[in-house]
Amino acid sequence: MSSAASPLVEARDLVKHFPLRGSGGLAVRSVDGVTLEIGRAEVLGLVGESGCGKSTLARLIINQIRPDRGEVIMDGRDLLAMKPGELRRFRRTVQLIFQDPVAALDPRMRLIDSLMAPLAAHDAGTREECLEMIHAMLGEVGIDAGIVERYPGQCSGGQLQRIVIARALLLRPQFVVCDEPTSSLDASIRAQILNLLNDLRRRFDLSLLMISHDLRALRHICDRVAVMYLGRIVEMAPVEQIFHAPRHPYTKALNAASLLDEIGLDAAGRLVQGEPPSPVRPPPGCHFHPRCPLADEKCRHHVPALEKIAENHEVSCHHWRRSDS
């Protein structure tokens, strides 16, 4: 047992490259040296555009895929050194909530069977005990118990996402990764689910890693936010800092993109040029320099280190001091 002060999850220098077949050694550099910590009962947001490696990073952290390099420590134990049996028991403590609840449930299984499967897999008790646990959990996520006799095709997206959340929480995990849990839902349902996650996280003392491409969705639930660009973390800070005093030009661009209504198209368009480059051949130096309004000669050649500029605030930019302008 480790002390309460130490972080629950520690990822150190994680690297994962996916080789491209028949390309002569080229690889998709999905995650390129990421170090982060998630505290107990803390919610860390991970934000970035498609292809920046945020989903890969999440799957590395829960050990669904193995990294090329680096280590993941959870609750003081090295995940990568675990044996298969140990790993399966460990699965109880770490869960994943998916982007598309329709895809995350087997269309040919009744919801009750999908809910029962993890309990059966971990020998959580007799059938009656399991049913009782499921009914209690359905109450927690605000679902009418009658619905579980149905198949996924007979329910709405919002209902299914509640079922997926209930299924993940049934095993009483300490740490839950939410991979864009609301991006496939309509606005009115999205708010319900975000409220639910926020509520559950307090009641179950959960640590969450919330992945999103929309900063606005993270604002109400996260304690800290990490911003990812082409496999690297470019800024990490408490949520209010990210919104009110972002230092990295990319964070500013993301911020503007999620607040188009307040900032306006012209201003948002000026903060960033072009499109994200391919993670197969990322630009040298700072990955963001071809799109950055502040880029100069230094940015083209030297990779900026992730620099600690204040308590809890790290940024990887040569010009973070200049970026107030």
Partner: protein, 328 residues
């Protein structure tokens, strides 16, 4: 070819769209777009915004069909028009861009040829002329090295570039009306503003009318002049963008704006709408929104909301509101 100033670019009257002859998925749609105006059609899934857009150029996939009402573009009637007349209107008056640009481009055909295709078909341009014009268009929509890019294939383009190509293709026939169905939903968030900015620029240069279909209200307030809000197959509110965003009068519009912009309610929770979105095929008596409506009138027993569909009321702010609680 110039239409008189007072003819609206698009006029939709009392449009009903049904599955076969039975179930209505959109009812009583009235819509008007003036020249040079951007109108946003806003709604969640199942609101009927996409079928409405498709019906405007007679592209409804069967068994969906228009069962009542009419659509005219620049004074020319689309509904029940002869196929070649329809083609002429589509080719000369309307351009359309879609959510997934990469799937709308033919992967085996060079980009320049696709952009010039409409010119070859509708303007009888020669192959060389069409290609030249295509390069010009690609340059206009901000594609760097347009003459080289025109010779590449769709899969060699990034998402943002592909959407620019789609816009160039839609503009090639010099249309009066551009229908944009979720034009930036599939793109990266930092590319969104660039594409929307491009649409805005083209609109000003060409006095285009734009029908923007989207679920994202932050885009609406950055782009649109007027907003039409749909819920479960019907229009609930219509009005100028500034007053709709600031002072919505239909309870659904208000709730949708609150949860789209993630405003917080009391107690730190986000504003949300209780319940689920009804599928478009479900029949609901009275106002379609009343089972989820927070307004006191809808909560009262025996109120009109549960019995009768509300008629449109023109309010003081100039909104057209379909709600029993709306005051003129």
């Amino acid at each position: 070819m110039i239409s008189p100033g007072d003819t609206p670019c698009l006029k939709v009257e009392n449009l009903d769209i049904s599955i076969g002859d039975a179930v209505a998925v959109a009812r009583g749609i009235n819509l008007e777009i003036r020249r040079g105006e951007t109108v946003a059609l806003v709604g969640e899934s199942g609101s009927g915004k996409t079928v409405t857009a498709l019906s405007l150029i007679d592209l409804l996939p069967p068994p969906l069909k228009v069962t009542r009402g009419s659509v005219s573009i620049c004074g020319q009637k689309i509904t029940r028009a002869a196929p070649d007349a329809l083609n002429r209107i589509r080719g000369n008056r309307v351009g359309m861009i879609f959510q997934q640009p990469s799937s709308m481009l033919d992967p085996s055909c060079r980009v320049g040829r696709q952009v010039g295709e409409a010119l070859r078909l509708h303007r009888r341009a020669s192959r060389g002329e069409a290609f030249e014009r295509a390069v010009e268009l690609l340059r206009e929509v901000g594609i760097p090295e347009a003459d080289r890019r025109a010779r590449s294939f769709a899969h060699q383009l990034s998402g943002g570039m592909a959407q620019r190509v789609m816009i160039a293709a839609a503009l090639s026939s010099d249309p009066d009306l551009l229908i944009a169905d979720e034009p930036t939903t599939a793109l990266d968030v930092t590319v969104q503003a660039q594409i929307l900015g491009l649409l805005e620029k083209e609109k000003k240069q060409r006095t285009l009318s734009i029908l923007l279909i989207t679920h994202d209200l932050s885009i609406v307030s950055a782009m649109a002049d007027r907003v039409v809000v749909m819920y479960a197959g019907g229009i609930v509110e219509e009005g100028p963008v500034a007053t709709i965003m600031r002072a919505p009068q239909h309870p659904y519009t208000k709730a949708l704006i609150d949860c789209s912009l993630m405003r917080t309610a009391g107690g730190g929770d986000l504003e949300s709408i209780p319940g689920t979105i009804p599928p478009p095929t479900r029949s609901i008596p009275g106002c379609r929104f009343h089972p989820r409506c927070p307004h006191a009138l809808a909560r009262r027993q025996e109120s009109a909301c549960a019995r009768e569909e509300p008629a449109a009321t023109r309010t003081a702010a100039g909104h057209l509101v379909h709600c029993w609680a709306a005051e003129p």
